[in-house]
Structure formats: C-alpha cells, structure tokens
Subunit: 247 residues, 2 copies
C-alpha cells in the first residue's frame, strides 16, 4: 500500500535507462548523461527554492547555474511548477523516510501520529523563510502546485500512504468502523497544520508545536469516548464530513 | 458589543462633515464634495473588484472610471489594498444586516449559527468567479489584506460581533463555562468555510452548503454531550486550542 515511486527520481546512476523522461518532446539523449543532467537541474532547482524562494527562482536562472541551456532545462521540466512537484516529492519522501524509522516498535496511535506530524514539520522547516510565497502561489484551486491538484497527486499519495501506515500499525481503542475514514481526516489536518506553520513567526515554530501537542492530547482524550454508543453517531458524521471535503 | 462603525462609510450625504478622511495628507477639501468623491471612488472600486477581480483592478483604472485623477484617488485611498478593506467592510456589514433580521425570534443555537453562516455565503457569492485571485493575494501572513492582519481588524470585528450576538441570544444546552470561547471557534470555522467555498466548483456552491449542513448537524448532535462530565475535558482543550490559533 505504501511505496516510493522510483520513476523520475533516480539520481546520478550509471546504469542504462531506456525510459524517456516525463514530458519528452525530442529524440532520446544518451540515457546516462540525460539522467545526470536531469538530476543536476533538479538539485539546482531545489536548492534555489530553499535559498531564494518561489518568486525569485526562474527556469533561466536554474539553467545558468546548472550550466545547461534553457532548452535543455525545459526538455526535462516544462515549467517551474514541474520543478515544484519535484520539491514536493523530495520533501514527502524525506518525510516518509524519517517517520518510518521512528514508527518502529511504537504502537499507541497518538504517539504514532505525533511522529508523523513532527517529522513532517521538521522536513518543512528549511523552507519557512519563503513559505508565504509558496503558499500564495499554491493556494488557488486553479494552481498546478496546489497540494490537492491533479498534478500534486503523487506527492499527496506519499503522505496519505504514511498516515495509512501510522493507523494500520497502531493499537487503539478506535472501533474498526472508523479506521477507514481516519487517514483522510489526518491528511486534511496535516494540510491545516502546514498552514498554521506558515503563519507561525514564533522562535523555532514553538507555537505550531504547542498547537500540535494540544491537538494530539485532545485526540488522546477523545479516543476512549468513541466506545460510548452516543458518541458514535457524531463521529460517523465527522468522518463523512471529512470525506466530503476531499477535493 | 456589536456596532457598525460609521466613519469612512458615509455615502452621498449633504450634511457638513468636519472630519478628515483616513490617511489624509493634503489640505481639507470642502467636506460634502470630498465625501461624495470618496464614496464615488469606493463604489467604482467595489464594482471593479466584483466584475474584474483583484488582479485587473488598478488605482489608475478606478480613477479613470470615477473621472478623477490618480492623485485624488490616492488622497482618499493610499493603495488598492485600502480599497479591499472597504470591500471587506461592505461585505461584512451587509452580512450582519442580512443575518440580524433573520435571527429575530430564533432561539436554537445551531439554527442561529445556520443563519449566520448561510447569509455569509450569500454575501460572498457575487465574488466567487474571482475568489481564487483574492485568496492568492490575501493568504500570505505578510499580506495587508489577510483577514487576520491588523489592517483587516475592523472587518473581522464585525464578523466576530455577529457570532457573539448569535451565541448570546441562543438557548442551548452548552454549559456556561464554554460560551466565552465559542465565538473564536465559530469565526475560525467561518474562515475555513470561506476557504472551502473558494474551492467549490459545484453548481450554486451546493457542495459547500452540504458540508455546512453536515457540520451544523454534527454540532447539533454534539451539543447535548457537553453535559456529560467525561466530555468536558476534551471540549475545554478544544476551546483552548482555538484560542492558541488566534493570529
């Protein structure tokens, strides 16, 4: 259920590779060189997003810094926003790597969720100085870098898979009927947490971490209540509501 | 507790007016003419925001359509974003007007909240075609038209006052200890609902209305549970959490 997609994320491999890059528009270049060039452009772009932000990163500037032409850059990545998708995948896959190691041996549901949310915030942290720019560029439902857009589906699938894993491996008092709807609520909460994090100007983002701790504490207190019959109807309604919110 | 601020919203009045406009920077113009000019510029700008959206509305274009100079426009409104604040106030005050009439005689808390949320969506509706632009311009915590910014405080105060009125006038099973924290949760929910509304491409925004109905239904089911002692601690925690979210 949870898997990394290797396509398009190979780094400086020497092995032969017969696959065309996404969005191929010309004759295939020699595979090893092509994949190296692609990885180089991607690395330069990701560093530029982190250091300069979204607005000041341009295809022209990436090409210059990678020492390749604008044409070559566009051959591998048609627009700047295709490189933002690489950034999303990079962040989410680093997030999954960091979380999966720590989940090992932890069985309590809210502790498992704490690991996933906290490692998520850690991966985002280097981007905080430029986060308002990314948010402004991504928030429109018409934006191809909106996290809920079709273009962003592969990155969102990574984070959804991670929450599914956190729920599946947990011992919790949550009745089985609620387990299927939970990952959707958790993913939406993750997006809301990221929104709060963008707004957080406190040192070390301590305000976001405090809100996360309180929310997890609230969940810990609420979980045993899900066994009270009168609480089940509202909870069923809450999960149905989160299902509606799906974009 | 709830009041309209008349300053800056006078329309085409003939009465004398000794007050300087906000942000006055030059010698006072004859008051009646000045106030008429201000109201004209404001009306032209609000129509432009509704018809052309945020991006295509410029001070130059507003000045042209109002038949005044760019200097005169800037004398009354230093930037386009000052005119967005006029738009916010216009929408929130129309919202309050529409809601207050309907609240008369309704005592059940969730019915009162339904009125406030629904009249809020109705006031927003004419702006839906251009809503993604406004969202992109307003979402950054650095934006002066962010709804939680200092600049937007007067418009936010109108909506907060409306939710306070809805709670104060209600008969509900909610224990008194929770009533003070509730308006903050309701205002944050209002902003989230507006976010969902921007994303809603369904005809007549029926998806947003369905989500609102379900959320109110959830609240209706949950309210009686607040009298169960074991439910009080998580609810206290939830209200404290919403207090933390305050920007």
């Amino acid at each position: 259920m949870f898997s990394f997609e290797p396509g398009g994320h190979s780094d400086d491999s020497d092995g032969p590779d017969g696959e065309a890059p996404r969005g191929e528009r010309g004759p295939a270049l020699p595979s090893t060189k092509r994949e190296r060039t692609r990885a180089l452009i991607r690395d330069v772009a990701l560093r530029s997003f982190r250091e300069r932000g979204y607005d000041a990163t341009t295809i022209r500037r990436i090409a210059e810094e990678a020492g390749v032409s604008v044409g070559t850059t566009n051959y591998h990545f048609a627009t700047k926003n295709h490189l933002v998708q690489e950034l999303y995948l990079d962040v989410q896959e680093s997030h999954a790597d960091a979380a999966i190691g720590q989940l090992e041996g932890v069985r309590e549901l809210t502790e498992r969720l704490a690991i996933v949310y906290r490692t998520g915030l850690e991966q985002l942290e280097p981007y905080h100085p430029h986060a308002p720019e990314f948010l402004a560029a991504a928030v429109s439902p018409r934006s191809p870098i909106n996290p809920l857009s079709e273009e962003s589906a592969p990155a969102l699938a990574v984070i959804r898979g991670l929450f599914e894993r956190a729920v599946d491996g947990a011992k919790s008092p949550l009745p089985d009927e609620f387990k299927a709807g939970l990952p959707q609520v958790l993913v939406l909460s993750h997006l809301l947490l990221a929104l709060l994090w963008v707004y957080d100007s406190s040192p070390g983002r301590e305000r976001t971490h405090r809100i996360l701790d309180r929310a997890l504490n609230l969940l810990r207190m609420t979980l045993p209540l899900t066994r009270i019959p009168v609480v089940r109807a509202p909870l069923r309604e809450l999960l149905a509501l989160a299902g509606e919110v799906r974009a």
